[in-house]
């Protein structure tokens, strides 16, 4: 299971990397991307869903 940030949709609100820094990181522009290859464990799924719900742009999704 991977968490994916749609770079075209992200406008840098920064909620995901503030709330769930273990899964997301900010760049020089304050935009977000998934850490590493975005692979998450089942235990991290709730955290990923927290970020998905918090994203004002609906830019984050889970890919099986």
């Amino acid at each position: 299971m991977r968490v994916v940030v749609d770079a075209a949709a992200c406008t840098g609100h920064g909620r995901c990397y503030v709330l769930v820094p273990e899964l997301f990181e900010d760049d020089e522009w304050g935009h977000s991307s998934a850490r590493g290859d975005g692979e998450i464990t089942d235990a991290q799924r709730a955290q990923a869903e927290r970020a998905i719900a918090a994203c004002p742009e609906r830019a984050i999704s889970l890919v099986e």
């Binding site: 406008t11 840098g12 609100h13 920064g14 909620r15 503030v18 709330l19 900010d26 020089e28 522009w29 304050g30 935009h31 927290r50 719900a53 918090a54 994203c55 004002p56 742009e57 609906r58």
Partner: protein, 412 residues
Amino acid sequence: MSTDAEQQAPVGFFEGAPLTFDRAEGWRYFREPGEVYQRDGIWFLTSPAAVRFAHQHPEIFSSAKAFDNLGSPVPLIPLAVDPPDHVRYRRLLDPMLAPRVIGAIEPELRRQVREIIGAFVHRGSCEVMADLANLYPTQVFLTLFGLPLDDRDMFIDWVRTIVEAPGSTASDGATPEAAAAGAALFGYMQGFIVAKRAHPGEDVLSTILALSGDDAWSDEEVLGLCFLFTLAGLDTVTASIGFVLAQLAGDAELRRRVVDDPELVGPVIEEVLRLEMPAPFTPRVVLSDVDVCGVSIPAGSFVFLVLGSANRDDRDNADDIDLAQADRGHLSFGGGIHRCLGSHLARRELRIVVEELHAMIPEYTMAEGFVPRIHWPSGTLHLTALPITFPVADPVTDPMGDPVGDPVTGRA
């Protein structure tokens, strides 16, 4: 007689909104007629779906013509710029206001707020808007832009005059007072642009002026950015400081929870941002006929995205503060390409104010009998005043290390 005519003039739909004392009632008033509707020549988009649609389609919902009524003699950059030019500005500006940059100046921002609080910590009472909320965001702006902090009060007067002008919520042009204040601000900034081109500092203004080649900015572009920062970034943060502290001062149990658990500072700020919006109406001009939630809006229409209503339309008990739901977010910083450029700075300022206030004054309450109200109608919504009272700090443990209390009683 003109005064009679004014008194008898029917109050318009917009101005008639019952927002002064109760935003729950006020935002319901805007939501009830529908998701998308027209009143008095203005279109209102009030649901999360309608607002998001406008955010996602800046090529239809133009920002470029939507801010002409403010007292700015230059286009507000990058807010009043449409694609494709818009991306050029944000590519350069976003890094200057990214979280990591703000983190670097946080110690100085904390020092300044402690100094402001230190001026009233021994008084036992203060008026939050005048003594704290009006002062701090302007100081932060002056600090970021490398301008003298001594100019703070002059700046505050200009901005207040511009944003509180009666015409600033409608599309009927700037008032003479707002235009005069706009001209004064323009001249002031122009002087510093010349000075900083000659002698650059380490500030945001110098950084922009130092851009060269294809990235170089004209003086007019720099002035447009300065106007945006002052018109969008000062009064809004002032208002939010007032709203956050009003919530805490009016709810002793909530305040104690937040003082005891600093992890709750962020959730409280997010929930107050959702419920109490300084800039709840985003103006746009529709460039081509468009269908939104099944309603046709013709080209040329003036539109308000009613963020205040949309924020209360996505959950049960949406009018109540719910710290457990704070992660679910809100539209208070807008969305799409015009996402508030200063959102990271605003959130940091709010967090710093609450944390430093609680370190120095953990117990405070709204002055007895005071009924908070907002200035309405207005372009930005803020409390007219917020008097609070608190136990007087012991001068010996004063974090400013500068006892000013009466030597006999120990009271300020």
